[in-house]
Subunit: 203 residues, 2 copies
DNA sequence: ATAAATATATACCGATCGGTATATTGACAG
DNA sequence: CTGTCAATATACCGATCGGTATATATTTAT
């Protein structure tokens, strides 16, 4: 509980931004939630946009560190880690505070590609996809980047689907699909008529 | 060009809601874009929320009708239609006005599940998934609902991914993944070690 | 003890939000 | 010509938006 005032403000803002949306959250509400005033808020952050960027950047770092830890705690072998990813996503989705992915939501609220909020959100998924690609390489995938992108699509889809309708089993369904895609990407099955059309690696 | 004033207002609102976001669009801007006044706007719509719901409901109907037409124009056999779905998505994403899925964006802007805007958005994907499931049944899938949900995850993921970073080939990548999933769901391959773990149909 | 730095309280700014009141214009029907 | 009704123009409402000015209180360091 030894948070600086700046950290307290950022934490209060983060919770409101994530739970209610960024545009829906006013600076007055943030100051009140942090038990301080707007004056202090504007001492540590130049503007609301600055505070939003701080929120997204911290979330980017925190979430990815937490996520990798969670995966590592569940599995040791890269192959198992690739599947554990979906279990972690599933557990994350199950918490009642879940409101989808903060970065997908931010990109939806700020749809222009050049917008800094949009860019930070975009970069998060670049990093995330790179992490999956690393695991895919360690698994010996024939086309790790393609596999990583495909698994990332499943994950993003599951997040969005769960956000739309809670408890619809998106994570488990994504995992089942992932099992098939991973197996296909690891073993080039003889006689598989698809192996010539679905594997043009484009890295 | 024989639009009613009501239709003109709804059309102007729809374009602004989709291109800039719902919360970011004020009623003054809508009235101006429709070349009318707020007085007329509030004659045909009880409130901004009412207008937003009209936007989402019309979009739901229009988009699904357009989508099914596009798929039918590309393929006749159900198997081919299932793949054509991804081509249509890919072409839709390529237009410069693309700003992601209006329903995913609306669900992000109004994160509370009970919110009417959120509900309409949720129902759109129910309908969409049912359409995919119909095609899966016609293809003779062993577990059409599971396959439909998995393909839906790929599609939603591709939309979100393309919204974050344009021209990253999400639709094509989703299609390659879909080919594998469809094939797996149609032919229970002998010797496939996964066939016992990825097919517990849960309808 | 005192000066300096930090935080609070409060009132205010112009702009915009969603929504309304009122009065005027325009077209069309009897 | 006149009454009706749809549409416009414009000004306004209270509330909230992001952001600031000013003055007071509370810490902290010397």
């Amino acid at each position: 509980m030894s948070l600086t005032l700046q950290e307290k403000i950022l934490q209060a803002a983060s919770e409101l931004f994530y739970s209610q949306g960024i545009r829906a959250t006013g600076v007055d509400a943030i100051a009140k939630a942090a038990n301080t005033t707007k004056m202090s808020l504007y001492k540590y952050f130049l503007s609301k946009d600055d505070l939003v960027l701080a929120f997204l950047r911290k979330r980017d770092e925190d979430f990815r560190l937490w996520f990798v830890d969670q995966v590592n705690a569940k599995a040791d072998m890269p192959n198992a880690k690739l599947l554990a990813v979906f279990d972690v996503i599933g557990e994350w989705m199950a918490v009642p505070e879940f409101r989808g992915c903060a970065f997908i939501n931010a990109a939806a609220e700020f749809p222009i590609e050049g917008n800094p909020m949009h860019q930070v959100s975009s970069e998060f998924y670049d990093h995330f996809r790179n992490y999956i690609a690393d695991l895919a390489v360690q698994c010996g995938s024939r086309s790790p980047k393609n596999l990583a992108q495909q698994l990332s699509l499943l994950i993003e889809g599951a997040i969005v689907s769960e956000q739309m309708k809670r408890h619809s089993g998106s994570a488990e369904q994504a995992k089942q699909a992932a099992i098939v895609l991973i197996e296909t990407s690891l073993n080039n099955m003889p006689g598989n008529s698809l192996s010539s059309t679905n594997t043009q690696e484009q890295q």
